[in-house]
């Protein structure tokens, strides 16, 4: 027994050593960085692209004599097999090609796991996140402003409204977008046409939405025992929050005040449109309620059940991001492959179009981003910075455009490619260029406050949910939104003295803003922290822009 025990112990120790020695970063002869990202087959392709980019930009492996190290046939075959490409295919390598002087390994983890790893000093060199501000507050990110401006991945290379998502409370840039996400209305034109509903106007209001929705729902469900077709997905969801934000912003309101120091949702505008959502859900039945949703497809994946219902024609439209093009194309390809197998012409196409979400005067478009943050615990900072440069490169952006993986981070490099897409993919309408243009001109990030932790409950959605479930009256729901977010702000302040200090400073500015507003004076632009108000006041001529050298 003793010998058996000792044997097992030795075996485990040996296995541990073997695992450690064969880990990619130890086994590799070049620096390796880890990219903590989401589960998406396209990441491997992007890694191959990065390796090509390194070689193209002179970051190659050299031997002792300073000569480039070349792939042998075995190495090339092994690498191609590893990435699942055949020789001669795009991104494949062949014997004699130069070897890059660095490599990236993609690792997937949930948001919670990434958070735990990040605060424990164990996260990847590059961390993909939509919560740059939260990570900055934890001190796990590295400020990049100087290097970014020097090496072409500064804020001026991406969307103007994106700054709020990449910059920390200290005003430094901490990340660069991998791909932008957006909240656009995607319309299944085939579904609309099937039920004889006219095209959705380019510029539409919630009243238009209701009118067309009623017509669609009536026609689509005619003769059915129970309602199976809806105008769009459930509004008791993230999409509902996004749509509500669009509408209230178009009326000049937002969840937080100008300095993001208080929630200000307890007003008639929020009440009016939450009530309208209830009407659309339970009275007009334009959108499914919780029971309808539970009764429909539960297929998950990119876009989840909403996407499946949209493709199958159960929803005439969905509010989703541009990344859904990946799924659209997958579905089309699968169906066309099936048609070919049946000996038919592979001509299946889903015809769709995009519109801004229905809204009023002040046109706005919500976007976010999966941003690459440079992790403070990185052991390969130089390679990690090169990776950031790669994200801003033409090669990467072209790839994002071609594959439909969100909005390109550096759009100015790929405008020609965006314009060319309608010729090659006519069924996609003008969605690619359209979204980029919206993001460039009217794009604003969704609701956020640095004083509300990203992991806190979504009180806006939760209160809508409580109202929809008859747990709260409309007045209570709207009051709850404001109270609960303000409680979160209070908790954050009390939990962190630095936060308290920052809040007091911003709150003092807020008092001044309120005085200026009352007096009808123009507000200094640098006082405004809320990207929505910055844009809104600027458009309304309510801001006083600071000139260079002016004392703030």
């Amino acid at each position: 027994m003793k010998k058996l025990f000792l044997g097992i112990l030795l075996l485990l120790v040996a296995a541990a050593f073997y695992t450690m020695l064969t880990a990619t970063d130890r086994a590799s002869e070049v620096p390796v960085i880890t990219w903590r990202t989401d589960t998406n087959p396209q990441r491997e392709e992007q890694i191959m692209l990065f390796r090509e980019w390194l070689v193209r930009n002179g970051h190659i492996q050299k031997d002792k004599d300073g000569k480039p190290v070349l792939y042998t046939q075995e190495e090339a075959d092994a690498l191609n097999a590893h990435y699942g490409v055949k020789p001669g295919e795009p991104h494949s390598v062949k014997a004699g090609d130069k070897k890059p002087n660095g490599n990236v390994v993609a690792e997937t983890a949930s948001n919670q796991s990434t958070l735990i790893q990040a605060v424990s000093g164990m996260a990847g060199d590059i961390v993909d996140t939509a919560e740059v501000l939260g990570y900055q507050q934890m001190g796990v990110g590295v400020p990049l402003t100087e290097d970014a401006n020097k090496n072409g991945y500064g804020l001026n290379t991406t969307y103007p409204g994106m700054a709020g998502l990449l910059v920390g409370m200290d005003g430094e840039q901490y990340a660069y977008p991998c791909n932008g996400s957006s909240a656009t209305v995607w319309i299944n034109m085939d579904t609309l046409n099937r039920f004889g509903v006219k095209e959705i106007p380019e510029d539409w209001t919630p009243e238009d939405f209701e009118r067309i929705g009623k017509e669609y729902v009536m026609r689509a469900n005619e003769g059915l025992q129970r309602q199976e077709y809806f105008f769009t997905q459930s509004l008791d969801s993230g999409a509902g929050v996004s749509l509500l934000t669009n509408i209230v912003r178009s009326k000049g309101y937002d969840l937080y005040n100008e300095t993001l120091t208080r929630c200000v949702a307890d007003n008639d505008i929020f009440k009016k449109y939450i009530k309208l959502f209830y009407k659309w859900t339970y009275e007009d039945r334009l959108v499914p309620n919780a029971a309808d949703v539970a009764s429909m497809s539960t297929e998950s994946g990119y876009g989840g059940a909403d996407f499946s219902n949209f493709i199958s024609g159960k929803y005439a439209m969905v509010v989703t991001g541009r990344y859904c093009l990946i799924r659209f194309r997958e579905v089309q390809d699968e169906k066309n492959k099936a048609l070919v197998k049946e000996g038919k012409e592979p001509n299946f196409r889903i015809n769709f179009a995009t519109r801004l979400p229905p809204q009023y005067e002040f046109k706005n478009f919500i976007f976010g981003t999966r941003a690459a943050m440079f992790y403070r615990g990185s052991k390969q900072p130089e390679l990690a910075k090169l990776f950031m440069q790669f994200l801003a490169s033409k090669e990467y952006n072209r790839y994002i455009v071609e594959r439909g993986d969100g909005l390109p981070p550096n759009p100015s490099l790929v405008m020609e490619e965006l314009k060319a897409i309608p010729k090659t993919r006519p069924n996609e309408g003008n969605v690619n260029l359209q979204e980029v243009e919206w993001a460039m001109t009217i794009g604003i990030p969704g609701n956020f406050s640095p004083f509300v932790k990203s992991g806190s409950p979504n009180w806006l959605q939760s209160s809508i949910n409580q109202y929809f479930n008859n747990r709260m009256t409309l007045d209570e729901a709207v009051k709850n939104i404001e109270t609960r977010y303000n409680m979160e702000i209070e908790t954050s302040k009390k939990a962190n003295p630095r936060m308290m200090e920052a809040w007091k400073k911003d709150w003092a500015i807020q008092q001044k803003i309120d005085e200026y507003k009352k007096a009808g004076r123009k507000i200094p632009a640098e006082w405004i922290k809320n990207p929505f108000y910055l844009k809104y006041y600027r458009e309304k001529g309510m801001l006083r822009e600071s000139t260079p050298g002016e004392k703030k």
């Binding site: 934890m138 001190g139 796990v140 919780a290 309808d292 949703v293 009764s295 992991g455 479930n469 936060m499």
Partner: protein
């Protein structure tokens, strides 16, 4: 005694064997446990305290615990945790019934088995026929389920109790997430097999519901009165046991306190249903030209306060009677905590049963609104099946039902089976000689002999209940709708890993530990005594 070289060597070898386990236990249990005690009294926040940021950790005393009790959501989540524990007595009873059935040798002789098989098959075919006639065979899923149940019956009748024992234990060794996804499908409001089966039944019951709608108020009140009377009779039983020296004073008070809970909760549970019934009746009176169409208490202007008065009256009677009897003393004395197990198990289970009765009273009060419009005409949809996980009020009972299913065939059943095998057969033989009926055999032999197992199961189930609910909430409901299925375990997770406030999350964990500790102490102190009593 001398400690020689060989002993030292043996000791070293022993420690060597134990060391991996001890190290693992230290690294993953003891050290995090001590850390979490420390955290609970500090402002530990991932924003300020992590690998890269070492800001001073402030000792905040009981601030985290105070915040916990002032948190507007904590009460709801605490209540959710306890609500889900209502299923425990039912689950325990179910596992006992399952164990009794599985302990029954129904194989018999070959001829008997063939007859059993034929009989079961005939019943199954007839049942399937009835279901199809009622319209329940409309979906392939329903037919599949009927076939599955039939198949199980046939295989069981051929294979005997071994087959059933394996099948009953199935839920326990099936992966949790897989069963949750399966139940999610079963609970599908429009296309799920449960609602597909319920729909024709409810359609058939709709005329009956319309018929009894005018009497619903009265039925609800009768049920509540029944709850009150049952409370009084159980108090009387408790006091009789106390008088005869079979129950200690402490145990008597504990039992009465537990029995009082349904009446205390009846106000908060019944009041909204009663109020909506009153409003509904008022609307009916306005809407219809003949308010007398709905013969109910609305004509006497009922007020929800009546419920409170009624509950207080019953409670006052019970407690007053108890105080009077206990103050008069008794003939046979005993220790204060004698029969505390009886109070915990019997009175606790009665409490749950009475709470269910209060819930049924509420259902009767909202029934008229489900089947009749305010103008007295039937509603277009009639009685509709629940929306289960999608409905605020049904989400918790849905999880409860699923938990009940899992509990029947769990380790509890195995423990009961083991317990049953330990019951001396001569006791049954003696009972047979005395001409005891099956029920008398169970109540006077089986149940007392299994008391130790029951007590252990109940305690473990309560501990499990306090710690549970996380995986169900995570997979099936994400804690919703509107927080209705968020339990303390899920709340700890969201606080710790959602907002990074580890100090606060630790405080919630320690409160949970305190509850579990109290229950464990209860078991430790009274477990053996209950068995011996």
């Amino acid at each position: 005694m001398a400690f020689n070289k060989k002993d030292a060597k043996d000791c070293a070898v022993g420690i060597g064997f134990l060391l991996p386990n001890i190290l693992g236990f230290m690294a993953f249990t003891v050290i995090p446990l001590v850390m979490s005690i420390y955290m609970a009294f500090t402002d530990w926040n991932l924003e300020m305290h992590n690998y890269f940021r070492f800001e001073p950790i402030r000792f905040v005393g009981f601030d985290n615990f105070i915040k916990l009790f002032t948190d507007p959501d904590f009460g709801q989540y605490f209540g959710n945790t306890f609500f889900l524990m209502i299923g425990i007595p039912f689950g325990v009873a179910g596992s006992l019934v399952a164990a009794l059935l599985l302990n029954w040798d129904f194989n018999g002789s070959g001829k008997r088995r063939i007859w059993t098989t034929m009989l079961i098959t005939a019943v199954m075919i007839a049942s399937a026929g009835i279901l199809v006639c009622l319209g329940m065979g409309a979906t392939a899923m329903t037919l599949l389920m009927v076939s599955l149940i039939g198949g199980v019956l046939v295989i069981g009748s051929l294979g005997g109790k071994t087959v059933y024992r394996t099948l009953f234990y199935f839920p326990y060794f099936t992966a949790g997430v897989a069963t949750y996804i399966l139940w999610k499908k079963l609970y599908n409001p429009l296309t799920g097999p449960i609602n597909n089966a319920l729909r024709p039944i409810l359609e058939a019951l709709n005329p009956v519901a319309i018929l009894i709608a005018p009497a619903c108020t009265a039925i609800g009140i009768i049920l509540l009165v029944f709850v009150g009377l049952f409370f009084l009779s159980m108090v009387r039983r408790k006091l009789r046991l106390w008088r005869d020296g079979e129950c200690g004073t402490l145990s008597a008070w504990l039992g009465i306190a537990l029995l009082s809970l349904p009446l205390i909760f009846s106000w908060s549970w019944c009041s909204p249903s009663w109020k909506s019934m009153v409003e509904y009746n008022a609307a009916c009176a306005v809407e219809t030209a003949r308010p007398e169409v709905l013969v109910n208490v609305s004509t006497t202007n009922p007020n929800p306060v009546w419920l409170l008065v009624m509950a207080i009256a019953f409670l006052a009677t019970g407690w007053g009677f108890a105080a009077y009897r206990l103050s008069r003393g008794r003939k046979y004395n005993c220790i204060p905590d004698r029969a505390i197990g009886d109070s915990a198990i019997v009175d606790g289970s009665t409490m749950v049963g009475l709470m269910a009765m209060v819930g049924i009273a509420c259902v009767f009060w909202v029934l008229p609104q489900m089947v009749l419009q305010t103008n007295g005409q039937p509603t277009p949809d009639g009685l509709t099946p629940p929306q289960w996980l999608a409905d605020y009020y049904w989400a918790k009972p849905s999880l409860l039902l699923m938990g009940f299913w899992g509990a029947i065939g769990s380790n509890n059943m195995l423990l009961y089976l083991a317990g049953l095998s330990g019951v001396p057969q001569e006791l049954y033989e003696a009972a047979d000689i005395d001409g005891a009926s099956p029920w008398q055999r169970f109540w006077n032999i089986t149940w007392p002999q299994l008391s130790n197992v029951t007590f252990f199961i109940m305690i473990m189930a309560v501990i499990g209940g306090l710690q549970g609910g996380f995986d169900m909430a995570r997979v099936m409901t994400q804690g919703g709708p509107a927080g209705s299925t968020t339990t303390l375990a899920y709340y700890i997770y969201t606080q710790g890993f959602g907002t990074g406030r580890l100090g606060y999350a630790s405080a919630v964990s320690w409160l949970l530990f305190l509850l579990v500790f109290v229950v464990t102490m209860f078991n430790w102190k009274f477990g053996n005594r209950y068995t011996n009593e």
